[in-house]
């Protein structure tokens, strides 16, 4: 599957004089599970809201399944599931009422899937949503998104306010759903560790900019930590992109996105795990922003 489920082109969103997202260009392959990471305020929620049509671009474009989010909403929304950060539900509704809402508002709703999920999670149908725990509410919101059998599922920090067990259960639910039907999933989070075992693609945002958008395999294969005696970073930077550099009196460390093989003999080459790579990108950006 080489079609892009989501394609953004020069995408930007401005609130007043503040740009929440700028110059975003990326492609999310169909069938992938993508981690959307970045600090708070980086633009993750904005990107997802643009994808789902809750807000409109100030510049550029975004297409989901080849459709434009607001213009083609009638064609797109049955195929697009979304769980917002606050997962808004009607607190006065019972769980049963909430499922009825899903059934009435979605022609592609599969009630059996919904019932089975709620059953499996031991959530009582007649309990008021406001009386459920945070984890249960998140699961109900997820059920609403999954039972309409979407082709694309967007989750905005769905586990941010949950305890570790509820987090694990939520991600488990998502992965189970992916194993049952072909779905493109985008999961945003400011915690990277959750996502590493679950995602195969990575997008890093910071301060409204897209720093990285690639498959995780590719990221792990191409990023390296180079350590060596002080100096020589200019030579490296001519060939590879240096993401972060740090120097002590005697030593220089560089995190690079290697453009091909690293031949330099003076450098010791180390692999990095995903979290370290992401941190290198975010630290880089924060440093730049602080310097301005």
């Amino acid at each position: 599957m080489s079609d892009a489920a989501i394609r953004a082109d020069g995408l930007g969103k401005q609130y007043g004089s503040h740009w929440a997202l700028r110059d975003c260009a990326l492609e999310i392959p169909a069938g992938s599970v993508t981690a959307l990471v970045g600090p708070n305020g980086a633009g993750k929620t904005t990107l997802l809201k643009l994808a789902v049509g809750l807000t409109r671009p100030s510049e550029g474009s975004i297409k989901v399944l080849g459709l434009v989010p607001r213009e083609d909403e009638a064609a797109l929304m049955p195929r697009l599931g979304f769980v917002a950060q606050e997962h808004p539900l009607h607190m006065g509704f019972s769980v049963k009422d909430t499922l009825t809402l899903g059934r009435r508002l979605n022609p592609s709703w599969n009630d059996e899937i919904a019932r089975k999920r709620i059953d499996h999670l031991d959530i009582p149908l007649d309990r008021k949503v406001g009386k459920l725990s945070g984890g249960q509410q998140a699961q109900v919101a997820l059920t609403l998104a999954l039972a309409k059998q979407p082709d694309v599922l967007l989750l905005d920090e769905p586990v941010a306010s949950l305890d570790p067990l509820a987090r694990r259960e939520f991600l488990n639910s998502v992965m189970e759903a992916v194993s049952e039907r072909e779905m493109t999933v985008v999961l945003s989070s400011h915690i990277v560790t959750d996502l590493e075992r679950v995602c195969d693609h990575l997008i890093v945002l910071s301060h409204a900019r897209t720093l990285l958008a690639a498959s995780i395999d590719q990221v792990l294969a191409s990023h390296r930590l180079l350590t060596g005696p002080r100096g020589g970073d200019d030579v490296v930077s001519r060939v590879h992109s240096v993401i972060r550099e740090s120097h002590t009196e005697r030593q220089t460390s560089l995190v690079v996105n290697a453009n091909g093989h690293v031949y330099e003999s003076r450098w010791e080459v180390h692999e990095l795990d995903l979290e370290e790579i992401v941190l290198a990108y975010l630290g880089y950006r924060a440093l730049e922003a602080a310097e301005q």
Partner: protein
């Protein structure tokens, strides 16, 4: 979507129905009592311009006095359309305050359909409740209308389609303010105050200006002119033969007796009035104005909600 709209409007619709129920509890027994007294006192013989026997004046007077506490209470019911309108606007404002519209917008219905269904339900339920209110009030007031007509202030705004206009206006105001402010309780309260102010403005200042009243001058010695029967008298007083009101007439009113005597009997009287036959045209104009503004406010509320994000 209709299911969802009703489900979210359930509580407020019940509140509006309860208000109506409260009204019925007050009006039904008293209305029956009034109708009964009307027939047993033989007031049907006292109708018409030529008010039958001399006892009619007394009978009518005692009838009106007996039921004046009720009429005073019912005068306050003119606030009800406003209350109904703002209550039925609350579900819409509450959704926007809590952000749950975004839940609906990420299901498979279009945003436009969500807005039109919700607003449509609000308008529809307001119309139904207001219409029920009109029916009850018209039924209740029948005896009094037969006696005094319905152009008089207290009767006029409880007798016809204007009530629907008032309710829709209050609804539209609360929807518009709720859409922009996104805080339901304050929006409802501010809108109710706005309704009150608008009503006062219309009642005391605007209505008489749009009514294009007629003028009449007659000899004071003649009996009251036919045109003034059951009409809305805006002003009436002694005048010259050309209809100019005379000022500086000292009127001696004996305290406590409610009888005022002119020192010198005027030659002519002049009146500015709106005849009873203008009732429906006046009602329709007033309804049109309130409903027209309501429509604009509702459309604005819908537009703002759809395009603000």
């Amino acid at each position: 979507m209709i299911w969802l709209g009703w489900r979210l409007q359930r509580t407020e619709t019940l509140i509006a129905a309860a208000l109506l129920g409260l009204v019925a509890v007050v009006l039904v027994p008293t209305g029956i009592e009034m109708a009964h007294a009307y027939s047993t006192d033989g007031l049907s013989h006292c109708l018409g311009f030529t008010k039958g026997s001399p006892t009619c004046g007394d009978v009518i007077g005692s009838f009106e006095q007996r039921f004046s506490p009720y009429t005073a209470l019912v005068d306050w019911f003119t606030l009800l359309p406003g209350l109904i309108g703002v209550v039925l606007a609350a579900p819409f404002a509450l959704e926007l305050e809590r952000g749950t519209q975004r839940l609906a917008w990420t299901q498979s219905i279009t945003r436009r359909r969500w807005v039109t269904t919700k607003l449509g339900l609000a308008v529809g339920s307001t119309a139904i409740v207001a219409s029920a209110l009109i029916l009850v009030l018209v039924w209740w007031r029948q005896p009094l209308v037969k006696l005094d007509g319905r152009m008089d202030g207290g009767a006029y705004d409880s007798q016809g389609v204007v009530i629907l206009g008032y309710a829709l206006f209050a609804l539209g105001l609360a929807l518009a303010i709720g859409a922009v402010w996104r805080r339901a309780i304050p929006a409802v309260m501010v809108s109710f105050v706005g309704y009150f102010v608008a009503r006062i403005f219309f009642d005391t200042w605007l209505r008489k200006r749009i009514a294009s009243p007629s003028s009449l001058t007659w000899r004071a010695s003649d009996r009251d002119p036919l045109q003034l029967f059951h009409s809305w008298v805006i002003s009436e007083g002694p005048s010259d033969s050309h209809g100019h009101f005379l000022g500086h007439i000292k009127v001696f009113c004996a305290p406590g007796q409610g009888v005022c005597a002119f020192p010198k009997r005027p030659d002519y009287m002049h009146a500015l009035y709106v005849p009873a036959s203008d009732f429906w045209s006046l009602q329709l104009v007033e309804f049109g104005m309130f409903a027209g503004i309501a429509l604009a406010l509702i459309a604005f509320a819908g537009w703002w909600t759809l395009y603000r994000e």
